[in-house]
């Protein structure tokens, strides 16, 4: 009959209307500033720089290779290479960024800098409450503001951070093993070259 559908629809909306006062499950709204849901692990907002250990300046993984600066599509990264060098996590002497600025008002959160970084030095943060009253200086983060500890990285992206740590440890172990092997070889060589000396002398 004519109007049957309208009555059915009205019944449905009435059920919603009264039901939303009775059952809490119907209301999916999270009233944000007071209550919030935890961000999911894959959430990403803007990049940050990872450092190992306690001192952000000494432990910074970035070696100022400038790959991310070149790859960044909106060109929001600015890097200035240092004149001197400092040892990296395996102990090799590397450059470090004297300046590393990211303009987050330009950044589009594409994560390309993270993908291209060969040193696992830049990662995505999930901090989103970044409102500031200064839209120029306040949104231009320097390397101190960008530096976050490896522990923080573990706290926001645990799975990814463990993978990264495993890889870095493996590399470190490889380098150490190589160094050990080299040291052993050098020792062996030294051992091998030292004893024959008298024999050689005796032989001549």
């Amino acid at each position: 009959m004519l109007g049957e559908g309208i009555l059915k629809g009205m019944a449905e909306t009435a059920r919603n209307f009264f039901g939303s006062y009775v059952s809490k499950e119907r209301l999916t709204t999270v009233e944000y500033p007071e209550e919030r849901i935890a961000t999911i692990e894959a959430a990403r907002v803007f990049p940050f720089l990872v450092y190992d250990g306690a001192d952000w300046e000494a432990g910074m993984r970035c070696v100022a290779c400038q790959i991310c600066e070149k790859e960044c599509p909106p060109k929001c990264i600015f890097i200035e290479k240092s004149k001197d060098k400092k040892p990296d996590y395996v102990g090799k002497q590397q450059f470090y960024p004297a300046r590393f600025d990211i303009d987050v008002s330009v950044c589009m959160s594409c994560q390309i800098c993270v993908e291209v970084c060969p040193f696992e030095a830049i990662k995505m943060d999930n901090e989103f409450e970044l409102a500031t009253s200064d839209r120029f200086g306040g949104l231009l983060y320097d390397r101190k503001e960008l530096a976050r500890s490896n522990e923080y990285y573990h706290s926001i992206h645990p799975t990814e951070a463990s993978e990264v740590d495993a890889r870095l440890n493996e590399e470190k172990a490889k380098v150490e093993a190589k160094a050990k092997a080299a040291a052993a070889a050098a020792a062996a060589k030294a051992a091998a070259t030292v004893p024959p000396a008298p024999a050689a002398g005796g032989g001549s």
Binding site: M1, L2, M10, E12, N16, G19, L27, T29
Partner: protein, 396 residues
């Protein structure tokens, strides 16, 4: 006896208050001052109701969609209209360069003024009618028709394609449904034999046992009320008949080029029209200010009137939360092919009811005719309708 006089005084409290205030003035000024006080009361009460309704509408719609609705400004978001009012007062008033400035300025004023005029003849309680006109119903419809003028003034003077399209739609829709609105009210006039709204209420304010003689409880009254409700929804541009301001197609329709307080006036006018037309529907079919049961007559009449109006407003909101917007051709088909013929038939049935006299026979005959016509017209008009996914003739 003391309690009954207390309730009588409570029922007439506004009249007594007015008379007491007026008694301070010299006798020559009293009638005019009484009218001014009545106007002030109307001009204060209905915008206040409008402010409350905007919150309740937003909260009601939110609940229908399983949301919370506004709850930030004040307790339960009740001060939201204050914030909205301050916002609309402080916004810039933009008038398009090519608009006709005078007409553009006048349109919202004409709307609000004509809508307020309608309240003059509505009986809002026992003896609570500002002007007891013999042809009150006619006056009300005349004022209601004048709102169409303001809508077209707004749309035409803005010099904007959306405004003009919205105004065209509005005029087409309002004229189509105005006919139905009038004809459905005519059946009430046929029974009461009076165009005076207080007389129409008096005619319904009698009881059989505990049940009232409201016109909605008769077959022709129910049919008339349904047709009136449909026409009233269309007349006030409410969903599902909100084509003139369909925001997904026409930005905002005829008030696209209005901002700041002029827009607020349009908004106010729209809601006041809703109150007025609900008040008239209440008066015509729902017994006006009379109580729903004879043992509840001690409750003041104005409480009954306003609760009936607010109930109608709730149904308006409920429909808005349920029904999608019609298409222009569906709107016109519905008006001219279903609602209008049915209202005309209802006039015949009302005449039959009037001349068949008392008795159970007229109940059976009138109900049968109306029900059969409803089913038959529904079947006929839905015969060629396809339901399901839309078929495209050329695009596939």
């Amino acid at each position: 006896m003391a309690t009954s006089s207390f309730f009588t005084n409570l029922d007439q409290i506004f009249i007594l208050l007015r008379d007491w205030l007026v008694s301070f003035l010299p006798a020559a000024m009293r009638p005019a001052a009484g009218v001014v006080l009545g106007v002030i009361a109307i001009v204060c009460v209905f915008p206040g109701l409008f402010a409350l309704t905007t919150v309740f509408e937003r909260k009601g719609l939110a609940r229908i969609q399983n949301r919370l609705g506004p709850n930030r400004v004040g307790p339960y978001g009740l001060f939201q209209p204050v914030a909205d009012g301050i916002k609309s007062l402080t916004k810039e008033d933009v008038v398009p360069l090519s608009a006709n400035a005078v007409v553009h300025f006048l349109a919202p004023l004409v709307l609000v003024v004509t809508v307020f005029m309608g309240f003059a003849v509505l009986p809002m309680g026992r003896n609570m009618v500002l002007v007891d006109m013999d042809a009150g119903l006619l006056f009300f419809f005349a004022m209601g028709a004048a709102t169409e003028l303001s809508v077209f003034m707004a749309g035409w003077s803005s010099r904007n394609k959306y405004s003009l399209l919205g105004a065209m739609r509005a005029v087409a829709q309002m004229i189509s449904y105005e006919v139905v609105l009038l004809l459905s009210a005519v059946s009430v006039v046929m029974i009461t034999g009076s165009l005076s709204l207080p007389k129409i209420v008096d005619a319904q304010n009698t009881y059989t046992g505990i049940f009232p003689h409201w016109y909605i409880f008769t077959p022709w009254g129910l049919a008339g009320f349904l047709m009136y409700a449909i026409a009233a929804t269309a007349e006030t541009n409410r969903s599902p008949f909100d084509l003139p301001e369909g925001e997904s197609e026409l930005v905002a329709g005829y008030h696209t080029e209005y901002s700041g307080f002029k827009f607020a006036l349009f908004f106010l006018g729209e809601y006041l029209a809703m109150f007025a037309i609900s008040g008239l529907g209440t008066t015509l079919f729902l017994g006006g200010w009379s109580a729903p049961f004879s043992f509840l007559t001690f409750i003041p009449s104005w409480i009954w009137f306003f609760s009936k109006v607010m109930l109608s407003i709730f149904v308006f909101i409920w429909m808005r939360g349920t029904l999608p917007r019609l298409r222009q051709d569906q709107l016109m088909n519905f008006a001219w092919k279903f609602v209008l013929p049915y209202t005309l038939l209802n006039l015949l049935v009302t005449a039959l009811w009037r001349f068949m006299g008392e008795g159970w026979l007229r109940w059976v005959v009138c109900t049968a005719i109306l029900l059969a016509a409803y089913v038959a017209m529904g079947r006929l008009s839905m015969r060629n309708q396809h339901f399901g996914p839309r078929r495209y003739r050329y695009a596939e």
